[in-house]
C-alpha cells in the first residue's frame, strides 16, 4: 500500500476508507454469525466504526482538525494474544480479540505514516489519528479485561 500523502484531504479520505473497510468487515461477520448474541455484538462494533467514520467526515466538511492531543494509555491486553481467523461460530472472546487486533494494526499504520512524512502538519494529523485508533483499542481492551479476564 504505497500512497503519497500531500495534503490533509488525502489523509482524511484514506482514513475514511479504512473505517468503511471495518464497517464492512463487522457487518459481514454479523451476517455470518450463528449465535444471535454474536450478531448483535458485531452489529454494535460496526455501529461504533460508523461513528468514527462520521467524525472524520465532519472534519472533512468543516476543515477543523481538533483531536484530543493527550496520549492514550496502551494497556497492551491484546498484544500477546494469538490471531483469530474469523469464522461463523465465533465467541465473544474471539470477537474482542479480532477487534483489538484490528485497532492495534490501524494504530501502527498511522504511527508509521507519521514517522515517514516530513510535513509537520501532516505528521501531527497522522499522530492524532493514531491516538484516535488507540482510544478505540483501549475500549475493546477494557471490555476484554472486564469480561474475559475477570478471573485473571
Amino acid at each position: 500500500m504505497i500512497q503519497e500523502f500531500t495534503n490533509t484531504d488525502d489523509i482524511l479520505k484514506f482514513a475514511i476508507n479504512r473505517e468503511q473497510e471495518s464497517i464492512d468487515l463487522y457487518s459481514g461477520l454479523a451476517g455470518q454469525a450463528k449465535n444471535p448474541e454474536m450478531k448483535k455484538v458485531f452489529a454494535s462494533f460496526a455501529d461504533e466504526e460508523r461513528g468514527h467514520k462520521k467524525r472524520l467526515e465532519n472534519i472533512q466538511v468543516s476543515g477543523q482538525f481538533k483531536f484530543n492531543e493527550s496520549q492514550i494509555r496502551d494497556i497492551k491486553v491484546g498484544d500477546y494474544l494469538i490471531d483469530v481467523e474469523p469464522h461463523a461460530g465465533m465467541t465473544y472472546q474471539e470477537a474482542l480479540i479480532i477487534a483489538m487486533k484490528k485497532e492495534k494494526a490501524a494504530f501502527k499504520l498511522y504511527s508509521n505514516l507519521a514517522a515517514k512524512v516530513e510535513d509537520p502538519l501532516l505528521k501531527s494529523i497522522f499522530e492524532s489519528l493514531a491516538q484516535e485508533e488507540s482510544k478505540h483499542k483501549l475500549r475493546f481492551e477494557l471490555e476484554y479485561d472486564e469480561v474475559v479476564l475477570k478471573d485473571n
Binding site: D79, T91, D145, V147, V148, K150, D151, N152
Partner: protein, 593 residues
C-alpha cells in the same frame, strides 16, 4: 439536760462570717463531666445502620429511619438512628453495643426548645451545636460481645498435602454455640445473601440448641445447606456488622454445623416432606447443578412432578465436578440427591439435552422447562502455544480428578488465573506432588478467589506470582509443554474508577520451566443444544441469558438460572435463581390454569 447541749448548736452561727457556697448560678454555664451521658452524636459516615442500638434500647427510644443522601448498599442499610428524648433514659447501652463505634454521646445536658418535636432527631444528620464536641460518653474499653471469631480447626498443611481428606474439621457444639453467641442479629447479611437466607434466625437456633428449627430455616431458602456450609462464597460475612471492628461471624461454618448435626434420616420428618402435595403438571429441569436441584426441590414441594436431565453420570454440576473433595466431600452431594429422589424427583443421568434428547421434545412434552446449564466452556488464554500437549483447562482437570482419573502433571505446573477455580487447580496439583506456580495478571489483593483459598494455597506451598502476564507457551520438539514465558506487569489506575489495570512491562520476559500449564481464566455458557430455532429467540447480553424477574427467558415457559444468568456465578446465587424460578413457574402455571 446539759448546758453544753444548749450552747453548742449556736456554733452554727459561725457560718455568718463564711462566704456562701454557690454550686450553680443562672449566668454561668456548668459544663457536664467529660464522661457525661448527654445528647447523642453519630458519625453517620462510619455508621452502617445495623440497628443494634435500636435492638438494645430498653425504652424503644431509637427508630432506624431512612436518611436523604445515604444510599442503601450491601454494607449499609441506609438507615440511621432517630432518638426520641421523650423515651431515652441516657443509659448509653446503644453506645456500648454500637458495632462501628460511630454512636457516642456529648456531655451536653441542657437544651431548650419550645417545639417538642425538636427532641426527636437523627444524631449526625440533624445538626446540633454539640456535634463537634469531643467530650461525652464513648464506648468504654470493652466489648459487650466477643469480637474474636472461634478459630476453625483444620488439618495441618503437611498432613493434607498428600490426600483429599476434607481440610476443615467443623465446629464442635461448644465452638458453634460460642460463635453463634457473637451475632447481634442485625440482618445486613440477609439482604446481601443472594438467597436471602434467614441467617440471624438459624444462628439463633444454634444458640437455642434447636437444630430442627435451624434446618427448617435453612431449607426455607436453600436446599443444599451441606454444600453452601462448605463452599459458599459467603458474601454475608463480608457485610457482617461485627466484622467492622472485629472478626465477621463465621456464618458459613455455622450453617455447616446445623446441616452436619441433624441426622440425615430425620431430614424428611423435620422438613415435612413425608406427604407432599401432588398435581398433574410436569416440569423438566436441564442440568442437575445447584440451580437445577434448587428448582427441583421447591417445585416438588409445591406439588409438581419434576424430571431432571443431566448429561453427566452424577448430579451436582460444578459443585460435583469442579470443587475438589478436600473442600466438599462427595457424600454430601449424594446424600442431598438421595433426599430429592425420595421426594419423588426423577433424575435422568447420562441424558444430555441436545445429545440424547432434543430440546424441542423436552420443550413440547413438559409444562415448563428450567435450564440451569452452567458455564461449561472455558475461555482460552489465547496465547501462542496453547495447543501444546500438557496445556489443559482447569475445569477439565478438576473433573478428571473428581472422577478418580490420575493426571500426568510432571514436575512443575503453571496455573493461569486468580479465581477459585485457579486456586482449586493449584491446590489439587500440589496433591499430585507437583511444584505449582500461579501466574496472575493483577495483584494478590485483586484476586477474585476467596481469601481462605489463597491462604490455604500459600500454606500448601503454592507459589503465587502476581502481576505476571503470560505471553507464550514454549513447546519442546515433541509438541509438549516445556515452559511458559511471562511479562511482569505494572498496575495502572483505571480512569473510570474500576479496578486497576495491569500493563505489561516490555523487556521483562521471564521463562518458567514447567511441564503443565492449566488455564483457569474463566468460562462461558454454551447454548448450542437449544437448536438454531430457539437459540435465535434467546436474548442474551455479554454471554448472560436475559430473564425477567421470575427467571423466565425470552422464550415462553423456558426459565433459566445459575451461572449463565447471574453476574456473581456462584453456588448460592444459583440456588437463589432456582428458588425464584420455581416460584415463577408456579405463578405462571397457576395463572394459566
Amino acid at each position: 439536760m446539759k448546758l453544753k447541749d444548749i450552747i453548742t448548736p449556736f456554733s452554727a452561727w459561725s457560718n455568718i462570717v463564711k462566704k456562701p457556697v454557690t454550686i450553680k448560678d443562672p449566668l454561668n454555664e456548668r459544663p457536664g463531666a467529660d464522661r457525661y451521658r448527654g445528647f447523642h452524636k453519630n458519625d453517620v459516615e462510619a455508621c452502617i445502620g445495623c440497628g443494634t442500638c435500636e435492638a438494645a434500647c430498653e425504652n424503644q427510644a431509637i427508630d432506624m429511619v431512612p436518611v436523604d443522601g445515604i444510599e442503601t448498599t450491601k454494607e449499609d442499610s441506609g438507615l440511621r438512628p432517630l432518638v426520641d428524648y421523650g423515651r431515652c433514659c441516657w443509659c448509653a447501652l446503644c453506645v456500648d453495643v454500637c458495632t462501628t463505634d460511630s454512636l457516642t454521646m456529648s456531655n451536653e445536658y441542657t437544651w431548650v426548645s419550645d417545639n417538642p418535636d425538636d427532641f426527636r432527631y437523627i444524631p449526625g444528620v440533624d445538626k446540633k451545636p454539640w456535634d463537634n464536641s469531643e467530650k461525652g460518653w464513648k464506648k468504654p474499653d470493652y466489648s459487650l460481645y466477643d469480637p474474636k471469631r472461634v478459630d476453625m480447626e483444620e488439618i495441618e498443611p503437611d498432613d493434607r498435602i498428600s490426600n483429599f481428606i476434607e481440610i476443615v474439621k467443623g465446629y464442635s457444639k461448644e465452638q458453634a454455640e460460642k460463635e453463634a453467641d457473637r451475632c447481634v442479629s442485625c440482618g445486613l447479611c440477609i439482604a446481601t445473601c443472594p438467597a436471602h437466607m434467614d441467617i440471624p434466625g438459624y444462628i439463633k437456633s444454634i444458640r437455642d440448641g434447636d437444630m430442627e428449627k435451624g434446618l427448617q430455616l435453612l431449607y426455607d431458602t436453600n436446599p443444599l445447606p451441606e454444600i453452601c456450609g462448605r463452599v459458599c462464597t459467603h458474601r454475608c460475612e463480608e457485610v457482617c456488622s461485627i466484622g467492622v471492628k472485629g472478626d465477621a461471624l463465621a456464618i458459613r461454618w455455622l450453617k455447616r454445623y446445623i446441616a452436619d448435626n441433624v441426622p440425615f434420616e430425620d431430614y424428611k420428618r423435620i422438613l415435612g416432606l413425608d406427604s407432599l402435595p401432588e398435581n398433574d403438571k410436569h416440569i423438566a429441569i436441564i442440568g442437575a447443578g445447584p440451580s437445577g436441584i434448587s428448582a427441583a426441590y421447591y417445585l416438588r414441594t409445591l406439588g409438581y412432578r419434576v424430571t431432571v436431565f443431566e448429561g453427566k453420570a452424577k448430579p451436582g454440576g460444578a459443585t460435583m465436578y469442579g470443587i475438589p473433595k478436600y473442600r466438599l466431600p462427595m457424600e454430601m452431594l449424594e446424600q442431598e440427591i438421595g433426599l430429592l429422589e425420595e421426594m419423588g424427583v426423577v433424575f435422568q443421568f447420562n441424558t444430555m439435552v441436545g445429545r440424547e434428547i432434543k430440546f424441542t421434545e423436552v420443550y413440547t412434552a413438559y409444562d415448563a422447562v428450567f435450564m440451569g446449564v452452567g458455564y461449561e466452556k472455558p475461555y482460552l488464554i489465547a496465547i501462542d502455544g496453547e495447543d501444546a500437549e500438557g496445556s489443559i483447562q482447569a475445569i477439565d482437570f478438576l473433573r478428571d480428578v473428581n472422577e478418580n482419573k490420575k493426571p500426568d502433571l510432571g514436575h512443575h505446573v503453571a496455573v493461569i488465573g486468580g479465581g477459585n477455580v485457579a486456586m482449586d487447580a493449584a491446590r489439587v496439583s500440589r496433591r499430585f506432588g507437583a511444584e505449582v506456580t500461579v501466574l496472575y495478571r493483577r495483584r494478590i489483593v485483586d484476586m477474585p478467589s476467596d481469601p481462605e483459598e489463597i491462604e490455604g494455597a500459600e500454606h500448601e506451598k503454592v507459589h503465587l506470582e502476581p502481576q505476571a502476564i503470560p505471553t507464550r507457551i514454549i513447546k519442546d520438539e515433541n509438541g509438549k509443554v516445556k515452559g511458559i514465558e511471562y511479562l511482569k506487569a505494572e498496575m495502572v489506575a483505571d480512569s473510570k474508577g474500576g479496578r486497576p489495570k495491569p500493563v505489561a512491562i516490555e523487556g521483562s520476559e521471564t521463562i518458567l520451566n514447567v511441564s503443565t500449564v492449566i488455564g483457569a481464566i474463566g468460562q462461558e455458557g454454551y447454548f448450542e443444544f437449544l437448536g438454531t430455532e430457539f437459540l435465535e429467540k434467546l436474548e442474551m447480553n455479554r454471554g448472560k441469558v436475559i430473564t425477567k424477574e421470575n427467571m423466565e427467558t425470552t422464550i415462553p415457559r423456558l426459565f433459566a438460572g445459575g451461572d449463565t444468568v447471574n453476574k456473581t456465578a456462584d453456588a448460592i446465587s444459583a440456588i437463589a435463581d432456582g428458588h425464584k424460578a420455581a416460584k415463577g413457574i408456579d405463578e405462571l402455571l397457576q395463572a394459566n390454569k
